[in-house]
């Protein structure tokens, strides 16, 4: 009430100090330790997440660059293949043309040769026949008797030829 007793005051201070000691030791200290532990855990988790994110970003970047490189390579490959194909096609056509020309040339030569051969053969035949004819005529002039034989032989020859 409206009076101060030193005894009550003293006991109040003792009670409070004991309470302070007990609460600090058995409640506050473990509570703060737990909060600290949680704080550390959260910090750790955030750090791990951050690291993981950075790693993922790095990997993504790497993948992107690899993909780009692969695309470029594929493009170059296609380009090269296209050029190669054009070249090859041209070469094939060229070869085919050359072969065709050669064949034509050969055929022409063959024809020429055959024609020449035929002409030569004909010419020889005509010459032989002319000589024979001439000799036959000369033979007849010389020998009247033999003329009949000659004509006969002639006809015989013609008949054989046919």
């Amino acid at each position: 009430m409206i009076s101060i007793n030193w005894g009550t005051m003293l006991i109040q201070i003792v009670v409070f100090l004991v309470l302070l000691l007990l609460v600090s030791k058995y409640a506050i200290r473990p509570l703060i330790a737990t909060i600290k532990q949680r704080q550390d855990y959260i910090d750790n988790q955030i750090n791990t997440a951050e690291k993981g994110r950075q790693e993922a970003e790095g990997l993504l970047e790497e993948q992107k660059s690899l993909l780009k490189q692969a695309q470029l390579e594929a493009k170059a490959l296609i380009e090269r293949a296209k050029i190669q194909k054009d070249k090859e096609a041209e070469k094939i056509i060229q070869e085919a043309k050359e072969q065709a020309d050669r064949l034509i040339q050969e055929a022409k030569l063959e024809i020429e040769r055959e024609r020449e051969k035929a002409i030569t053969a004909l010419r020889d035949e005509v010459g032989t026949l002319t000589v024979q004819l001439a000799s036959k005529l000369l033979e007849k002039e010389l020998d009247a008797k033999g003329q009949a034989k000659l004509v006969d032989r002639y006809f015989e020859q013609v008949g054989r030829l046919q």
Binding site: M1, V15, F16, L31, A33, T34
Partner: protein, 248 residues
């Protein structure tokens, strides 16, 4: 106003109601604090979340008197003080135990004659310890003396006197504060809680007719109890901070 049982010894009086109230408050606080901090988990349950909020509040209170780093050392003090005063202030509002004017226990200084002499109309067996000046002044003077002791421990006796009282004209203010602060500090909480209990006592005597204003006043008293516990704790930290954290 009620009488309280007292024992006289060593040339002073021990107020049993107040001492019992104080011890009961301390036990309630201790049980509350320990119950809430059993089985502490990384993921707090409701009780643990509540006590952690209270700890946060205490931290904010403490930081009003000390810088953030030093505040951690006085966290337990703020927490215990706030909780103790909170429970003590509500004790009389929720659990007021009195007996009639004819109680006669001469050994505890309670007789109808003394009651008549002091114009008391009953005996209080349980009420808020903070409704007693002895308790509040014990706390406020304890804070002041404790702060001086801690300051001397940290700064040295010379360092304390030099930092506090050899600072030019400001020293006068510090001397003045040294006397006035513990008085106002203890008086403020006592007056609020004491007034609350007096009015509750009067309304209780008025019977059921006063039940509605009584309920309203009890609600207000609960609020005042929280407010005063908060204010006392803040001021305790501010006063301690002024004495301990001297400007060099």
């Amino acid at each position: 106003m009620e009488l309280t049982p007292k024992i006289e010894a060593f040339g002073t009086k021990f107020d049993l109601t107040i001492i019992f109230g104080s011890v009961l408050t301390a036990i309630i606080v201790l049980i509350l604090a320990i119950a809430a901090t059993r089985r502490l988990q990384m993921r707090p349950g409701k009780l643990q979340a509540g006590i952690e909020m209270l700890l946060d509040l205490s931290r904010n209170l403490t930081r009003m008197g000390h810088d953030d780093k030093k505040a951690e050392k006085y966290l337990g003090f703020s927490f215990t003080l706030f909780l103790f005063l909170l429970v003590a202030n509500q004790l009389g509002v929720i659990l007021m135990v009195t007996s009639g004017a004819d109680t006669n226990i001469p050994a505890l200084g309670i007789t109808p004659e003394i009651m008549h002499e002091q114009n008391a109309h009953g005996v209080a067996w349980l009420k808020s310890p903070t409704a007693d000046m002895s308790v509040t002044f014990a706390m406020s003077i304890g804070v002041a003396v404790g702060a001086i002791i801690i300051s001397m421990w940290i700064n040295g006796v010379g360092g304390y006197i030099k930092g506090r009282y050899l600072v030019g004209p400001m020293a006068l203010l510090h001397i003045f504060e040294g006397v006035i602060n513990p008085i106002t500090h203890g008086m403020r909480i006592w007056a609020n809680i004491f007034a609350g209990e007096i009015l509750i006592g009067i309304m209780l005597q008025a019977g059921w007719a006063a039940s509605i204003p009584l309920a309203a006043w009890m609600g207000f008293s609960l609020f005042v109890g929280v407010m005063q516990a908060y204010v006392f704790t803040v001021l305790a930290n501010v006063y301690m901070g002024e004495k301990i954290n001297l400007a060099h």
